[in-house]
Subunit: 327 residues, 2 copies
């Protein structure tokens, strides 16, 4: 029995929605530049819940998910379109004003111009399709398929915080209410994620990444995507993965916390591979200071195609296809 | 009280979804070429009904609505993205296969490549966001704002057929069932419209159109959009408008039929203006023979900004803001 996740992947492959099998489609723009373009569909009660977020946060995140795809190609975002289907209950009132305020604030920050889109009614659920186009130098887009045996595997910033925030929302916590500071921090990672735009551009400009993806499905799944696209394997050291430190308050046991963090989606960090000898060059970035740019080597690329090994305390376990199998 | 239509227009203006106020956004591509790009959102039970169409027809039409926007700029369509939100009831079975078959058949016909998109679940209603990108020579896109006083106003092919088909669907008729041939023809105009792609390119290449729009809201509304964007008025001769001949079987009275036809949307014909002296050059087109290319002069551009006059039997009436006021 396929999971919904696998089913959607299959649909995308089957019908050509995933032609390049990457975060963005890459299209020739001019002799020096390629266009990278992505679409992300968010459906109420599937991809978000209105009572868990604010209209501003939702507008912000709707753009971030697409900016993150552009970042994963090493692209510079330029323009966006936004298609929204709005139920009658949201027509009136300030919902749309606040949604667009969040969207536009994020767009201004990253220099993205809204150039079009569409509006329709919907019988009940709010739907957003976020489309972003960006530039990369011709042939310079960082794909998933370039990982080489022996490469270091690197992740930006921290992982698992978004899954932690989601778990808090599921348990009834809401942002801005009487939370501990660690709870507020996790909620913020989930509700107001930032794209790693500056870091993506830095890695592409310095030619530091052989392959790259953004962590939207979860570190384990997204590493698998790189391995499959590159026809390689990966060996990861469990203790080296930079788990969000606030997760410690949520899940005490390391193994449970680790499994939780690498299985959780929507971190919007970058996961990439590069030759070992170039790892020291990462300390120069990111060049624009606009995001964190903390890099952690978590493992290395192996020749064991499609297999992800997790090493902990000198013992090696195989990550199973459907997610992480704990020790 | 605003109509839903006006409300959506306002939303698009207010939030910048309609920046150029045109059928597509126009973005610089290279020194010789601009990118034209459009998004069209279709929501089940708002924009279509699954029991009124077939999955193939729906896939075909989802692409046509966007191809028509590209045509209205004089653009050549190149690539597309498709975001779909699918309810569980449609996951299984052959719905998606058939939907994509209709989409791809249309895409092959017009040389459009599917490069990406997204898939999500939806609690109940099927949602499609259709995105198409195309090319025009730099600065060559035909906008809505170029109509000049004295220009002839021209429409392609026939109008009102789609509204006729919709009326038949509302009254219980279904395509492929036991219909008269005129009924089947009207149903086909509504369910399987064709974009005027070849004609749009012809008009742009020969520099024959000062302003252009596709008829998606209805001839009356779309002529108004040209007038508003160009700060001009229009005088139209009622008898000259090429009503779909099959409408005669549906609505006997000419005035009712006329009002019905110019108020009905989704004809996906082109409506454009050009200098009187160039009208004879229209007979050369369209160059690729891929669509009808029948041109009818229906009136002229006036200096009476924002006012559309309808002339019948020598009497002139003003078309009211909210639609056509009958004689």
């Amino acid at each position: 029995m396929m999971t919904e996740f696998e089913f959607i992947r299959n649909i995308k492959k089957k019908y050509g929605l995933d032609r390049v099998g990457d975060d963005c489609a890459v299209l020739p723009k001019d002799s020096k530049t390629d266009l990278v373009v992505t679409a992300d569909l968010l459906v109420e009660d599937i991809d978000f819940r209105l009572d868990w977020t604010t209209p501003e946060f939702l507008g912000q995140k709707a753009l971030t998910v697409s900016l993150s795809d552009i970042a994963a190609m090493g692209g510079t975002p330029r323009w966006a379109m936004l298609s929204i289907a709005v139920p009658e209950t949201l027509w009136r009132g300030d919902f749309l004003d606040r949604f667009y305020e969040g969207w536009h604030r994020n767009a201004r920050k990253w220099g993205v111009e809204l150039v079009g889109g569409d509006v329709s009614r919907t019988p009940d659920k709010f739907v957003v399709d976020s489309i972003v186009g960006g530039d990369v130098p011709a042939g310079g887009a960082v794909l998933r398929r370039g990982a080489k045996v022996g490469d270091a595997i690197v992740v930006t910033d921290r992982v698992g915080g978004s899954a932690g925030g989601l778990k808090l929302l599921e348990s009834g916590r809401r942002a801005g209410e009487q939370n501990e500071s660690w709870e507020e921090a996790l909620l913020s990672v989930h509700l107001q994620p930032s794209p790693q735009t500056g870091t993506g551009v830095f890695l592409r400009e310095r030619k530091l990444a052989n392959s790259m993806i953004d962590i939207s499905d979860g570190l384990a799944s997204d590493l698998k995507h790189i391995c499959n696209a590159s026809n390689v394997g990966a060996r990861v050291t469990a203790e080296s993965i930079p788990l969000d430190p606030n997760l410690r308050n949520l899940i005490e046991d390391f193994e449970k916390r680790f499994t939780f963090a690498i299985s959780g989606g929507e971190d919007f960090q970058l996961l990439f591979t590069l030759p070992r000898e170039n790892v020291s060059e990462l300390s120069a970035g990111p060049i624009d200071g606009s995001d964190h740019g903390v890099f952690t080597v978590i493992g290395e690329v192996t020749s064991n195609a499609g297999v992800i090994e997790i090493v902990r305390n000198g013992k090696t376990e195989i990550l199973e296809a459907k997610g992480y199998r704990h020790f």
